[in-house]
Amino acid sequence: MRPEALVFQVGAFVLAPVLLGVINRTKAAFAGRTGAPLLQPYYDIWKLLQKGAVYSSTTTWVFRAGPIVGLAAVIVAVLLTPIGKVGAAVAFPGDLVAFAGLLGLMRFFTIVAAMDTGSSFEGMGASREAMISAIAEPALFLGLLVLVLVSGSLSLTGMMGSIVVATWLRTTGAVLALAAATIFLVLLAENARIPVDDPNTHLELTMVHEVMVLDHGGPDFGYITYAAALKLWVFSALIVGILLPVQTGSVLADGGLFLAGMLVVAIVVGVIESSMARLRMLHVPHLLTAAGGLGALAVALALVAG
């Protein structure tokens, strides 16, 4: 890995919360409000880190481990995620399975920590999260499988590197578009965005992700907020990696293009959140099955065309 690339890798950790800020600003613009400052997520995280934590006497070490393991898992996942054409800090054949596994580990510990509190609401949120992610994960794997078939590479960096303008001009372009759509639906589901979950809702009955972390406070909640920002970054990076075939040769220009792409993804998420209502819980599996169907279709097409 080149030193300039390392700058971007550090940048990923620094810039991730901006995505949340951009989404919130987009939503505010749609609603006719000024909205919170772009850097609000940083202020929030900073504020939370200053505070002390309160732990219920019914919880065990699992509850305390949840946010830390989650953050650690997603940090490693960020290191595996290629920054557009610049590449990832760590790349090896099969790292896409490790990537999905790390996200799974993060989810597992969030769920277990929520159940550890013994709160019925948190248990409900945990069961919903488990259901949603159980349907979303096959879709994610189908999307990644398409990338493997199209690029012939088993590492995320190799895949993103082999997607060039010519790939988009052949039949594989349509296949890649399907894969991107699949992963985008997974992004919405995994990051608790509308139409799957509403990050702003404060009615426990309808919350999914937010209800699981109700009992975490102080630095723990700061870790969770930062981990959520990194998770959004990771998925957006996958989508930008697929949709941005341009390779300039200069690391700085590649990285700059990538960051511009990330901004666009965040704005698109914001537009979707502003223009759609949240789906009823019963319909969420329909959306994710559709994502899986798109992924399966893309795999079939990739097998013929690739």
């Binding site: 039949t171 349509a174 329909h286 099955t289 899986g292 169907g293 279709l297 079939a300």
Partner: protein, 230 residues
């Protein structure tokens, strides 16, 4: 040219799957109309080398019929019958999509086993046509409302049309026009039938049509012998 053809073919397949997933009949009609229009464009694009007058005529007739006339007919019969949604189909929407995805897989495997004598304009023609055909068939047998069944019939015909793209470089205009006329008449008749069924029975649920005979006799007091006489 091939990427554009492939893109249009994938669009046809996606629209077929979307028709399978939507519970609102109006949306379903629009999706199938869009599919008809895409097919018209596909027809011209796949023969770009030799655009003739009769080719443009067939494509234009196709777009006008499948994109405008048939949707209009179906919307009219929907309005008259007062149906908006496909409630409780035989096979649920989610399962339909899964089956549709399976059908796509089967179609791709089958097309590997079906070598064609001449090269097609795109590798995707045969699998897409088979998949669209299967999905149309699935739509036809798994829905209860007559309007959606007509839509399934049209999707099925669209699949056959895509297959026609693969088979004949010079698709005889007469045959194509004949097929178009057939579905037009079919949909036209179904439009009228839907209206009549609805007027007689206050619903267009096809699974209740088995009661047709008994109810007719009861309502109009047609004696048994009358049928035999005619």
């Amino acid at each position: 040219m091939s990427p554009v053809i492939d893109l249009l073919l994938i669009l046809v397949l996606l629209l077929a799957l979307a028709a399978l997933a939507s519970s609102k009949i109006a949306r379903c009609v629009r999706i199938v109309a869009a599919q008809g229009i895409v097919l018209g464009v596909l027809f011209i694009v796949s023969r770009l080398g030799d655009v003739t007058l009769h080719l443009v005529a067939v494509a234009a007739a196709m777009i006008a019929l499948k994109g405008l006339v048939i949707p209009w007919l179906l919307f009219r019969s929907m309005r008259e019958a007062g149906v908006q949604r496909e409630v409780e189909p035989y096979i649920g929407f989610q399962l339909s999509v899964v089956l549709g995805a399976l059908a796509v897989g089967v179609a791709f495997v089958l097309s590997e086993l079906l070598p064609l004598p001449e090269a097609t304009s795109s590798q995707l023609v045969v699998p897409v046509s088979l998949a669209t055909l299967f999905i149309g068939l699935l739509l036809l047998v798994s829905r209860k409302k007559a309007v959606t069944q007509v839509l399934g019939y049209i999707v099925l015909e669209n699949g056959i049309f895509v297959f026609g793209l693969a088979l004949a470089r010079e698709l005889p205009t007469l045959i194509e026009m004949g097929v178009l006329l057939d579905i037009f008449v079919g949909v036209f008749v179904m439009g009228i039938t839907i209206y009549q069924i609805n007027r007689e029975f206050d619903h267009i649920d096809a699974n209740k049509l088995q009661e047709l005979n008994d109810m007719n006799r009861r309502r109009h007091r047609i004696p048994h012998v009358r049928d035999a006489d005619r």
